[in-house]
């Protein structure tokens, strides 16, 4: 087929981009070459709208072994061990085919992790759906959860935590973000940089089919009425083959055969081969007739752009082909030598003995477009003035009931019970806590991980929201007794071509960057997903932050269930009574405006680090951060989990009771202390200038707020635990 401007546009390229291609090549590309350009230059692979801004994130630190730029980030957890982790989105496919979309998302992120030599040890997910009233939500939720479980369970990797939210803005565009942690020895990490001339290039895994051709372009196009036409681009996942691929790759990696390895993710063979060559400053030559194909008569274009799952590309040392082949044969996987590294600095493709494409690699990579898109700042909204008198008409009990059974607060047990969270025998904190925790197999160490987002805050004020998500994630790690090390981030936004959406992106990234810098919590990997919108309306800006922390002695891990009668619960951090953008404001007052709670990074850091000191001295019996729903929601969850009640002290705080209970001021935690240690604890808190109050004393069975207001734990449970299950059945 002759290539022309229109065909380029149909491939998602812009006019100017097509012109640039012709200029760079000094000719018109052929059809296969155009396909390669379109895949490499689309938003998903080239980060053309985001690159400029992502550069501002802090990505280095004492514990960072590998920052962004590889298949996943790597951090040091001492004793020669390292954790490899990353988060990735699979939003558009999951909307079209929830089961397969979510499943292949999980498969893709696990491949990113084991490509680096790490055995996956934990999965997490952050999933966002439209309103629970929307007619599509239930099926999408069911399909996504089945898909995540279907893939992760089969792989034998525990899913240890996650996050689920519901909001109108996702009605036509759900979000499915999957995160994986892997464990590797520091001196056995594998990278994607090819090296050496004339080295064999190996294809392993599943056969190539026609599935997912142009999936990466789909991820970069917003949904419109043409959605139906895009349907066949969804891939079907094969977790069984991926499990074999994992074992086979790890077996080969135990030796010294591999120079470079790269999974075939978005844009399949195209991006994997080009990335490996580009990083090694080499050329690459592929004979496409050697690529194992599932379908007969696949064209070079189709072979290069297929997004069939469960495939890897490896550059081997010369002479190691037989050793490698034997391993892949053992695991019943396809194995083929499909090319060589060259010094041409071009990607050269051959098919039926003819050269069917030849493109300078730097043209595809370094010369890829980068845009400084127009963006709009978001002003900090004015605070709402509430008539405190109106609050007096509210019954705390009724409000609490509504909040605990709100879809965004209600227990997600129905979801995580469908995920195998105990396989591998090292899960010491299951989903349902502040962070999931797995032991580092055979050691006394454990790693904690949590994934968080706060789209409402980000929407109200992106810079504050960006900071807040990082801070909340940090708090979740602290709450289980882990020292936060680094994060990965999945930035889900609307169209970058829209000034408002782009502004949200820029400012969220700014907020994330500021918080990460201050908290010494660098970004080591991530993913950007733009065009999450239906027609012209973007989703609320939704950066998901996945954080990882280390617990040196796993026996010191903290959970959130209340432990013992007569222990004292302290509120750490100051309660100012910030109501705007809280769940209380939204669902009780129906107030959608106003600024999100302010994030004071000094307090965040100081409060968090002081709590870690207390935990280290074995002074904390249980802990939970205060987030959505405020303090009373947080204590309710601790009561439910621990099957204990609490008698609340009369607050000395001057603010209104409603503000005291439901405000979402940041930087706060609840911690349970043995009364014998109270002096010691308060001394440490005072010495570190940490603000605290005594919330109350643990008792059996009830939350006693005052003489008139008493709730039993069973009541709380029935509000909180049944909503999702009832909704789904």
């Amino acid at each position: 087929m002759e290539v022309n401007e229109q065909i380029a546009i149909d491939h998602g390229l812009k006019k100017e981009e097509y012109k640039k291609i012709c200029d760079l090549l000094k000719r018109v590309p052929n059809f296969t070459e155009l396909g390669i350009f379109s895949a490499m230059w689309n938003e998903h692979c080239s980060y053309k709208s985001s690159r400029l801004h992502l550069k501002k994130l802090p990505t280095s630190g004492k514990k960072v072994i590998q920052g962004p730029g590889e298949n996943a980030g790597v951090i040091d957890i001492e004793d020669g061990d390292a954790i490899v982790f990353k988060i990735e989105s699979h939003n558009h496919p999951s909307f079209i085919e929830p089961y397969q979309g979510a499943a292949t998302g999980v498969g893709g992120i696990m491949r990113d992790v084991f490509t680096m030599g790490a055995r996956p040890i934990a999965n997490l997910n952050s999933i966002h759906f439209g309103s629970s009233q929307h007619k599509k939500t239930k099926n999408l939720l069911r399909g996504v959860v089945h898909g995540i479980g279907g893939y992760g369970n089969c792989m034998g990797v525990p899913t240890i935590a996650g996050q689920t939210s519901f909001d109108n803005s996702y009605n036509g565009n759900i979000l499915v973000n999957a995160m994986t942690l892997g464990l590797v020895k520091k001196n056995k990490i594998f990278y994607s940089k090819a090296a050496g001339l004339n080295k064999p290039v190996i294809y392993v895994g599943s056969k190539t089919g026609r599935d997912g051709i142009h999936g990466a372009s789909m991820a970069s196009a917003s949904f419109d009425e043409k959605i139906e036409e895009k349907k066949p681009t969804v891939q079907v996942g094969d977790p069984f083959t991926e499990k074999l691929l994992l074992e086979a790759c790890l077996e080969l990696m135990a030796g010294d055969s591999i120079i470079a390895i790269q999974d075939m993710g978005a844009a399949g063979l195209t991006s994997s081969s080009i990335e490996m060559a580009s990083k090694g400053n080499l050329g690459i030559k592929l004979n496409l007739n050697k690529v194992p194909c599932r379908e007969s008569k696949m064209t070079p274009y189709e072979i290069m752009l297929s997004e069939s799952q469960e495939r890897m590309l490896i550059v081997l040392e010369n002479g190691k082909e037989d050793i490698a082949k034997k391993i892949f044969d053992k695991w019943d996987l396809d194995f083929a030598v499909i090319g060589r590294t060259t010094n041409s600095k071009n990607i050269e493709l051959f098919y039926d003995e003819k050269k069917v494409a030849s493109i300078p690699i730097n043209t595809l990579v370094e010369n890829s477009p980068m845009y400084d898109r127009k963006w709009k700042k978001t002003k900090l909204p004015k605070k709402n003035k509430y008539k405190k008198g109106n609050f007096n008409n509210l019954k705390i009990k009724d409000v609490l009931k509504k909040i605990l059974s709100n879809p965004n607060i209600a227990s997600k047990e129905w979801i995580w019970q469908q995920y195998d969270h105990t396989v591998m025998g090292d899960t010491i904190q299951k989903p349902g806590g502040d962070a999931g925790v797995v032991r580092v197999h055979g050691t006394n160490k454990a790693v904690a991980a949590s994934v968080d987002s706060s789209a409402t805050y980000c929407w109200a004020h992106p810079i504050t929201g960006g900071k807040q998500v990082v801070a909340e994630n940090w708090r979740n790690l602290i709450s289980v007794g882990a020292k936060p090390i680094a994060i990965t981030n999945c930035l889900n936004f609307g169209s970058p071509e829209n000034e408002n959406n782009m502004g949200e992106f820029v400012e969220c990234v700014q907020g994330i960057g500021e918080a990460c810098k201050y908290l010494n919590f660098p970004v080591v990997s991530g993913n950007v997903s733009f065009y999450n919108q239906t027609k012209d309306i973007g989703i609320k800006p939704t950066p998901s932050i996945g954080g990882v922390g280390l617990i040196k002695d796993y026996k010191k891990m903290i959970t959130m269930q209340l432990k013992e009668i007569n222990n004292v619960v302290l509120i750490i951090g100051k309660t100012e009574g910030h109501i705007d953008q809280s769940i209380f404001a939204r669902i009780i007052l129906d107030e959608k405006n106003g600024p999100p709670p302010e994030v004071n990074l000094f307090n965040e850091k100081n409060n968090g680090e002081t709590i870690l000191k207390l935990i280290d001295q074995d002074l904390v019996k249980s802990a939970h951060d205060i987030s959505l729903g405020g303090m009373i929601t947080a204590i309710s969850k601790m009561c439910i989990k621990g099957n204990k009640g609490i008698r609340l002290n009369k607050s000395k705080n001057l603010i209104n009771q409603v503000e005291y209970f439901f405000s979402e001021d940041q930087g706060r935690y609840l911690i349970e202390i043995n009364p014998d240690n109270l002096k010691k604890v308060t001394k440490i808190l005072n010495d570190n200038s940490v603000h605290y109050e005594e919330l109350g004393i643990i008792i059996e069975n009830d939350i006693i707020i005052d003489e008139k207001t008493k709730l039993t734990i069973d009541e709380l449970k029935s509000y909180n635990t049944n909503w999702l299950e009832n909704y789904m059945n």
Binding site: E97, G209, R210, D211, P232, D238, S308, Q309, D332
Partner: protein, 80 residues
């Protein structure tokens, strides 16, 4: 009436199950197999007594629930 429908994966869609079954059959000595594809089969007993209408109902079910037309096709194979 009892309406029978089969639902199959579209031609170019990967059928992981079929693939593994094929390999297993091969290992068991069934050497001369070109391909195995797996699908679903439904037998739906509806109160409707008019065959045309019964077929219509089941097709409607396939469209709305039983098949995902993104990756699957369906066919009514019997009405009794």
């Amino acid at each position: 009436m009892k309406v029978s429908a089969i639902i199959t994966l579209k031609k170019d869609v990967l059928d992981p199950q079929g693939k593994v079954i094929h390999q297993t059959l091969d290992g068991m000595g069934f050497k001369d197999v070109n391909e195995v594809r797996q699908g679903k089969y439904f037998e739906i007993d509806v109160k409707e007594n008019d065959p045309k209408k019964a077929q219509k109902i089941v097709e409607d079910m396939c469209d709305k629930l039983l098949a995902n037309l993104v990756i699957e096709n369906y066919k009514i194979i019997e009405i009794q």
